[in-house]
Amino acid sequence: MLLNGVRAAAVVGRVSGTVRGGADEREETMAVSLRESVGRVSDPRNLDASVEEVFRLMLGIECRREAGLTVVDKESVTSVVGFGGLLSGACVFRSGSRTAMKIAAQMTGMEFDAIDNTVKDGIGEICNMLAGAWKGKVPELAANCGLSVPAVITGRDYHLHVQAPEFQLHHGYRFGEEIFEVTIVCDGLQ
């Protein structure tokens, strides 16, 4: 999947460089070529690498992806960071309350027994870093896709629904006994 995407973009770049010349024109063509590179943008390994990087560097936690993991806690915390520009969509982080408090504790060195503003702030920042790391894996997105500030939702029994996304990645991860989900939803790719 990745190979195809890289190859497709490289071919477009080479053709525009030799036939049309001009760096600006090539850059424009490369940006257009991203529309043809859904496979590269949606490569699931980019999401896994981003999650592992953020958790290792910011929390000192090694986490791993596991198939079939779903957050079932009644009380959950969800953070959403929107993408805009070359790609529109969102990065969504979701965990149970206990996991959110553990993550916030790891980030701050504090202990939490409730989902207070510091926990929400920490989870929002984790989602922000995940979104930034993920788009940074694709150079065209790193330069031409902006991030919204994080929004954090807490509560019970809510669902996120996106109508007919271009693509969606939905992965579950584990560290110790804790699990969380990260979803990338793309509803438009230029």
């Binding site: 701050t108 702030d121 930034g132 790391a133 940074g136 330069a143 991030l147």
Partner: protein
């Protein structure tokens, strides 16, 4: 040869490890993480001023001397680049190094930050070692 006094010396002859830092980030958690990373980098006697917005950061700079500024870019109301431009436009914190800490990692973002007057750039997520490598030389050179 007599060398000019550094901004740090001008402000009272602080020792190498005694730094007054302004940390601007809309996330209070990130401000704490950046502070912790600075301490891990060896800045033990750190005095930290925190601002949750660029506007708050400007107000602090009008009343308190600082030796180092670290700012997020992606913030509501006034983003980090506008904060940086306002610092320069209002002649605040002259000679004080500014390091941007952000999730944005493209060459274009780095270029924009440098053009706006930043001396350093750290991408989130980061390690304390990266903070040490990029911040300490700027503090020493100030």
């Amino acid at each position: 040869m007599v060398r000019a006094r550094t901004p740090i010396e001008e402000k009272g002859g602080l020792g190498m490890n005694e730094i007054r830092a302004l940390i601007v980030d809309d996330s209070s958690v990130m401000r704490k993480i950046v502070e912790r990373a600075l301490r891990q980098a060896g800045l033990d006697a750190l005095v930290v001023h925190e601002a949750g917005t660029g506007a708050e950061g400007l107000e602090i700079l009008k009343t308190k001397p600082v030796d180092l500024i670290l700012s997020d870019i992606n913030m509501p109301t006034m983003d980090g680049l506008e904060f940086l431009r306002q610092i320069r436009a209002q002649n605040l914190a002259e000679g004080v190094p500014v390091v941007m800490i952000t999730t944005e990692s493209s060459e274009e973002h780095v270029k924009q930050a440098i053009q706006s007057g930043a001396q350093g750039y750290i991408r989130k997520p980061f390690t304390a070692e990266q903070v040490k490598e990029r911040v300490l030389p700027l503090v020493r050179a100030a």
